[in-house]
Amino acid sequence: MERTYHFKHTLEKKERFAPGHRLCAGCGAGIAVRGVLRALREEDRAVVGNATGCLEVSSFLYPYTAYEDSYIHTAFESAGASLSGVEAAYNALKRKGKIDGTVKFITFGGDGGTYDIGFQSLSGAMERGHDLTYVCYDNEAYMNTGIQRSSSTPRFARATTSPVGTAVPGKSQNKKNLTDIIAAHNVPYVAQTTFIGNFRDLYTKAKKAIYTPGPSFLNVMAPCPRGWEYPTEKLPEICRLAVETCVWPLFEVENGVWRLSYAPKKKLPVEDYLKMQGRFRHMFKPGNEWMIEAVQQSVDENWDKLLNKCNTNL
């Protein structure tokens, strides 16, 4: 954790993601973008990339852009590759003396554009070693097209293509562990975070990601009130419970060293997290206790594996 983090001073920095965008109230995507861009040094410029998704269609509707920095959106599955091209251009033009000053490269994609359709171009960008930061705002389904399941949707969650029916109780598969997969690319910096307290975790990880030379990846849990079915004001509490139940642990992998960012004093039961969200409502019906047990078991296993990787004994 960065010692110099000062919440008030950080908030006093000039906003780089302007108000007036059209994201829903209580949406995590805008919070992720604001929080990550806040970690840029004020004197540095940035080119912001974006995969097609809620964020893109809500933050750059011609002729209005919410970004103070340069911005590029090309397609759903191409955010990694497009920003690779921008970064390559920067290197070439810098070498030819056509550009002065520091420009950083940060791209945002939802879980659809990151875990699924854009996975290949993300993997390619990480492997080739471009000096860029890929930020996934993970809201665990294809929200832009109307809450379809993704490989990031957790087991049992209701989505419009994994509906809860009389024969199938929501999504059948477990969530893909993308943060681990990107860590397996052996890139210099990978981290998992969300919106907790005074945003220190998000800020310090974003800063490390942006200013660590080479490719970096941030996976930010970014709840969606429509898809997860919660009252908009409950977003911070859902994030807190995701962390306190170890459903979404905070950790980072820096040059191959795994480090736990936060260990709950007392791990809360997964019900506390699940019961706040309509997408899990069916799990609380009598006779469905096994679902909650299955989720608890899966969360426990993943938590133990993570502790092991972080060499941490609690």
Binding site: F60, I72, H73, A81, G85, V86, A92, K96
Partner: protein, 393 residues
Amino acid sequence: MNYNERLSGNEAIAFAMKQIDPDVMAAFPITPSTEIPQYFAQYVADGEVNTEFVPVESEHSSMSACIGAEAAGARAVTATSSCGLALMYEMMYVAASSRLPITLACVNRALTGPININNDHSDSMGIRDAGWIQIYAENNQEAYDNFLQAMPIGEHPDVRLPVMICQDGFITSHALENITLLDTESVKQFVGEYNPENYLLKKENPLAIGPYDLGCHYMEHKVQQAEAMKHAKARILEVAAEFEKVTGRKYGLFEEYQMEDADLALVLIGSSAGTAKAAVDRLRKEGVKAGLIKLRVFRPFPAEELAQALKHVKALAILDKAESFSAHGGPLFSEVRAALYDLEPRPRTVGYVYGLGGRDVTPAHFRAIYARLADIAAGGDLGPVYTHMGQRE
């Protein structure tokens, strides 16, 4: 200064790229264009170019990276063929609509279904409506010359469109020919520096690219794109004139071969024109007024110019090296035939689909077509307008 070399079509393109020394090249290998990034990677490895080479993990990503690079203010190039171009399909539209003058070396190859690595034009014809300028070559010299002209055409402020420089897979890409090269200094002078007005990395004025465009603006943007394609025609001729001054080699929207007094004519694209010209020469010796038009520029489509050049022809065959499964004819047939509609009198026209998946075409095939055209010109029956040529019965 011009000098002679013996190069394959692929090496000629790679060499043109080296002379231009673009800022970024992003590419993924696919037969028969693979050699282009291979040669280029060697130039990079030997420090002969100052280019960022981005060896991407797919063609979708090579076009995406080129879009990012060109948008950032750099000159970006790529090369591909067949399925690679098909995989780029979505991004080709993004490149054109973002008005980014990327240059793509397309080495034409049949599209898979079934897989086939040999030449036809189904790949670039399949993407003809994406908003890219398309320029085709008959031989290695033309492939090289066309590539040198691509950037001055596409980057012009009145145009700002991406350009595909097409040549026939294996037939020219892998065949060695004697070609005349321009010295690198003259190439650099001819192609010039890329200095876009607005770009992502411009310090003074941040730029946003790739908006969500609502119904109230989308149509206006498409009309601007269509206007740019109209402007491209004049720019292509302007650049050709400048190129002629430097090299002495003359280019237009199409080449007319023995067309002045031709009664019977063909319209076709690419390397088959060489074979067809041999047939025309023989027929001319026999007193047949045969001629042909080799289309160089398919996008923008030179409809008025073709009508003008073909107005005196009595019978015309239009040859497509691509199927479009319209059950009526290939894309070139449809567009050329439509271009002649307002002529009075009009040439009588038939279409042939030929050469699919590398099927060979010989002077005898062309002689047979001219014989049919002679019959039609003499008042004979038109017969079926949509036929295939060169397949086993």
